[in-house]
Amino acid sequence: MPDRPIPTSYAHLVRVDDGKWARAAWLIAGLILIVAVPLAMGNGSIAPEWVGVAIQAQIFIVGAVGLMLLSGVTGQLSLGHAAFLAVGGFAAANLALDFGLPWWVVLPLAGLISALVGVLIAPFAFRLKGLYLAIVTLGLVFVIQHVLLRWTDISGGHRGTAVPMFNGFVDDPENMTPMEKAEAGFGREPWEIGGVFMGRDVQMYVVFLLVTVAACLFARNVLRTRMGRAMAAVGSGDIAASVLGIRVKWVKTAAFGLSSFYAGVAGAMWGWKQTYLTVDPPFDLHLSMEFVAMIFIGGLGTVMGAVLGAILFASGRPLAAELAELPFLRDSSLQEGDIVLFVFGATVIVFMLFEPRGLRGIWSRVKRYFTTWPVK
């Protein structure tokens, strides 16, 4: 069912947004997110744990949009997304620790390194389809996990490694004391805007917001390019796509590369948020499956769906943690994470049974109700 007016001209067909009102709404929402929220969060006036939740949501959004491009649009079901996040996270750690690169150089580089791994994996998708591909990517999680764990120069083994986020280029980072590293790190100086002081968390929120918005807009625009349309064509049937003259292998490679670029960026962000990374947890099969859950809850195939799913996941975590306080659960051996897992497992199942189009489907139904009102 269309949830927007029927296009009546070419300009109408190719426009990016839904007209001036939609544009105004997005602008206001954007301003609130980038101005009002940090101001409100500065000085700790909003419960500080929600800053962490917001940052986690941004990381999830970038990762989920990446997986959406690969699994939702191009139809290459991947259970290996966590492995690419891990590659990005440890790339970020080592680029800073070995070369003293600032975070704004590390961010794209971590993405590129992860993308390179993704492109190397892509050939598996040439011969394999559907569930077989899913199992291979699942195997890759184990393989990459093993390699990272054993490659102690890179990952620090089971102990893990610090992930510094330098503000500028740093000379000779290997001989710096932890104190000096912290001095050169992101968020040392509080930002002051109109009497409100913003600490590291809030600064990180602002920076990540820009990254997240850029990632979403880029993905949305990629979908409108020749490559994006080709990806969607491959997603709905790769043999048919190849008959149409689409170079399927090239498209699949691009999709893997792009998706793992996003994952790498998300991994680097994850590292900076935590300031310290180990391989497992968090980068295990469960994380991969959580990403799959996000794009499914949100609604497959749209950027909006991935964003909604990621936000639901990140904000649901503290809410589900509240459940852990319930009397019959408090004394059990269940950890907070287990309850989160249970709640999300149940949510995904309910969504798959009753609303296969996800949050995005609910959203478009609500929208259609208002656009076509009073017609039912």
Partner: protein, 299 residues
């Protein structure tokens, strides 16, 4: 040589467990075209139920095992009835994804009921008993595991090939619509398939938790480790599942002993990954496994 033979028997015993899990995968895949990621949780739940029945309720061992199998059959059929049946007619990968989350629910349920501690699996025979045949020593548990797997999978193969019920199940696996048109109760048979898959998983779990291992929540991961077996054998063939399972068990046990030490630090735990590497290489050469059939695709 003796050592090689001993490792081979240990590998075959592990392979027998993998085969049981893999046959569970194949049952569900053949009948409904979806991959049941919750199979490992069936094993975990089965193993814990067995400890409850045999150690806590002190039932005789065979009765406890039978009870475990029956309860797990009910669990499998229940999951099919409540969740999977609603997904009939939807693309198979949707159903497969749903099973991942069914697995999550089961694993949390096990954790909630049994906690995170490990439990020893009772056995009617002495769990450390060593059998010696011609200088080759192995535990009695390994021998029983192999025998049980052979008997169970053999019975299953007989039922599938020779009985009317098995014939109907194969018809459903072949073409659900055509089976429906013939008056075969497709839905009931799908439920039965899930029940059988769950109870096979439970038996695998019971034997996997025996000495020197024990029942833990982490056993659910095992099903993911069994994937190479299903892939190498092909998703559609029970025979393939047995061969794939045995190959996987042998690969892991021999790999741990003969390959790991040569890799230095990198070799620690490498045998678990080795199976996946072999699986990926194998898929490159034969994308449908040894006994899988190539799908013809309609555009």
């Amino acid at each position: 040589m003796t050592q090689f033979a001993e490792l081979t028997i240990a590998g075959l015993a592990l392979g027998a467990i993998y085969s049981l899990i893999a046959v569970g995968f194949v049952m569900v895949y053949r009948s409904s075209g979806l991959l049941n990621f919750a199979q490992g949780e069936f094993a975990t739940l089965g193993a814990f139920l067995m400890t409850t029945f045999a150690a806590w309720a002190v039932l005789p061992w065979p009765v406890a095992l039978l009870l475990t199998v029956l309860v797990m059959m009910a669990v499998g059929m229940g999951i099919e009835r409540v969740i999977m049946r609603k997904l009939l007619g939807r693309p198979p990968f949707i159903g497969s994804i749903v099973t991942i989350f069914v697995g999550f629910l089961l694993s949390v349920a096990v954790l909630w009921i049994y906690g995170s501690s490990t439990r020893a699996m009772p056995t009617p025979w002495d769990p450390v008993k060593i059998v010696e045949v011609g200088g080759v020593e192995f535990t009695l548990t390994n021998l029983v595991t192999i025998l049980v797997a052979i008997v169970l999978i053999g019975t299953l193969a007989f039922v599938m090939q020779r009985t009317p019920m098995g014939m109907a199940m194969r018809a459903v696996a072949d073409d659900q619509e055509a089976a429906f048109a013939l008056g075969i109760p497709v839905e009931r048979l799908l439920g039965l398939t899930w029940g059988i898959a769950a109870s096979l998983g439970a038996v695998a779990g019971v034997f996997l938790a025996m000495f020197p291992r024990s029942a833990t929540v982490a056993m659910g991961l095992l099903a993911f480790r069994a994937f190479p077996a299903v892939i190498i054998g092909g998703l559609e063939s029970p025979v393939g599942a047995i061969i794939g399972g045995s190959a996987l068990g042998l690969l892991q046990v021999h790999g741990e002993y003969y390959v790991n030490p040569h890799l230095g630090d990198f070799g620690i735990g490498f045998h678990l990954v080795l199976a996946f590497i072999v699986m990926i290489a194998f898929l490159m050469i034969k994308p449908h496994g040894l006994f899988g059939t190539k799908e013809l695709e309609r555009v």
